[in-house]
Subunit: 183 residues, 4 copies
């Protein structure tokens, strides 16, 4: 049930964005009553928050998997992993991603999501630091922002070819980090 509601909510966001996101619509789309929605989520905001938390969590998992072996690999390899994870995570539902990002930015965010956000930033920053990247916190922020921008836009334009997009993102990231492409 919780899954049905969350998936309905995701689809509403994909189709109509935050403007179309209302509890009645979500409930109807999920095939449940509004009452049931409120049985599982204290309110509209909580539903949105859970959607955000889940997406963040998925991304975190992908990045963490890459970060785990960061010590054993060289910087380009680690960074490639990050890029691949980010693309895999964000390319399929770009409109959903964009709506959640906007909501995340505007809404007063709960502590848990805030922590998750910070820990994502730190995961990336640590991996970069490990390989001697200067000002790793800023670099992590920049690279995330840059990647997110490119992938979201590519998604909105209907791109599905992961390989091409990955190559383009990599060029920008390598450039930012001062890694030669032949590296």
């Amino acid at each position: 049930m919780v899954e049905a509601i969350l998936e309905a909510a995701a689809r509403i966001l994909e189709d109509g964005g935050l403007a179309a996101f209302n509890t009645n619509a979500v409930a109807e789309r999920a095939g449940v009553s509004v009452g049931s929605l409120y049985q599982y989520f204290p309110g509209k905001t909580a539903l949105l928050a859970e959607l955000i938390r889940r997406r963040r969590s998925e991304l975190m998992d992908g990045l963490q998997r890459e970060a785990a072996s960061a010590e054993q690999r060289d910087l380009p390899s680690v960074v490639n992993g990050f890029i691949r994870a980010a693309i895999a995570h964000q390319l399929d539902r770009p409109r959903l991603a964009t709506s959640l990002e906007y909501a995340e930015m505007m809404l007063p965010i709960d502590a848990e999501t805030e922590a998750l956000k910070r820990s994502i930033a730190e995961t990336v920053a640590s991996a970069l630091a490990l390989h001697g990247v200067p000002d790793p916190a800023t670099a992590a922020r920049d690279l995330s922002a840059l990647t997110r921008g490119m992938v979201d836009t590519a998604g909105l334009f209907g791109e599905t070819d992961t390989t091409s997009l990955e190559r383009r993102v990599r060029r920008a990231v390598y450039g930012y980090l001062g890694i030669g492409l032949n590296a």
Copy 2:
């Protein structure tokens, strides 16, 4: 009057995002009556559209100025100009920028803005094509997206130092284009 309304609308978006953006609030903030707002704008959406159009137009002006002399300058110089124009345009009101970008993506956009958008893309693409960048349309899209992502995020984090941000964006862009930094 129109100016007062538009500035009020911008401030509302900055303060509370799209959720706080309603005609009554805008009119009050502008110090005019709702009636007057409707005298000058057929509706809420039109007001938002005008805001978008103006911002786009400003960016367009900045880019065009750089593109005008593209033939006489080398690629790094042209690209630097674009970056500087984008940063100048977007760094000061990042919350406004983000809201407008979200609105632009979600709303059914009028033909005029659509044309403006396309012409921005073409302006950049042409300049890139002029210097032999392969697939200039995609490159223009990627570089815009990348820059927008970085600048918005920097703005939201309170950065105001244009120089540092410019240097970082440049590294990514140069990387993407395969221009050596010493070039």
Copy 3:
């Protein structure tokens, strides 16, 4: 079970009044399921009605005990008994009493409670008639109203000293009945 539900209902009324009185809250407070509540009471109103009936019944018992020996005692003594019974009954849970009185007045009351109400009035009226009080029905109504008003208010102000309150009510009642205080 029935007792647990009724006590929970009473506590909810005490804490939050009629506004807070809903079946889910009562069931939860009683530690039973809503389903069980509906097993024993046909609905919310019936639960309230039972609460009213019980309180009325308790008061009736107290008054009847006094009325039973009315013939053998003089008017002041009988009246003292009534006052003491009313105070004992109403001083401990004034917020509950007030809510039930309000509900009783507003709700379409069932026949049984109506009969109980009438029989309380008649019990007092008869005792008064027995001692030559003129227009005993009106007097019974007036004295009940007067006592209820004073006791409820005293309760809401946190009074717990029965003796002082009793003395004050007695003065009013004696005055109403034209009984000298030294009688």
Copy 4:
């Protein structure tokens, strides 16, 4: 408009009590839209509060008029005035009075009404103190409660004869104060 809404609200309370008191019903009865109701009252509670404030204010006026000349008159005369004011105020719309009293007791009351309430109590208490009544604060409370109880109940029973009711209340009040009826 404000008057129309308040009168509609009063009628709804009279007809159906607090349970029937909802913004849609009030607006419809007043012949205005819900929107208009919210133009003049920030919410349902504020509407109720205004109703309470007005009733309190009216009572206050009546009592104050009597209290003004308290020094020049003897106690029975002053008290008669209070009783007459209370009856005039409360006998005509007993169901409204009862609902407002219940609401006043249960709702978190705003500072202004609280002050009004206190000042009513003090007005009566001062007048009593002036004539040597011991513990005037408690006496004021008791007499108000007693009178309110009797008048409300009389009203609910359809009494309209002010003279008879006044005589009965006077007996109780005089008795409470230890004033001989022949005084």
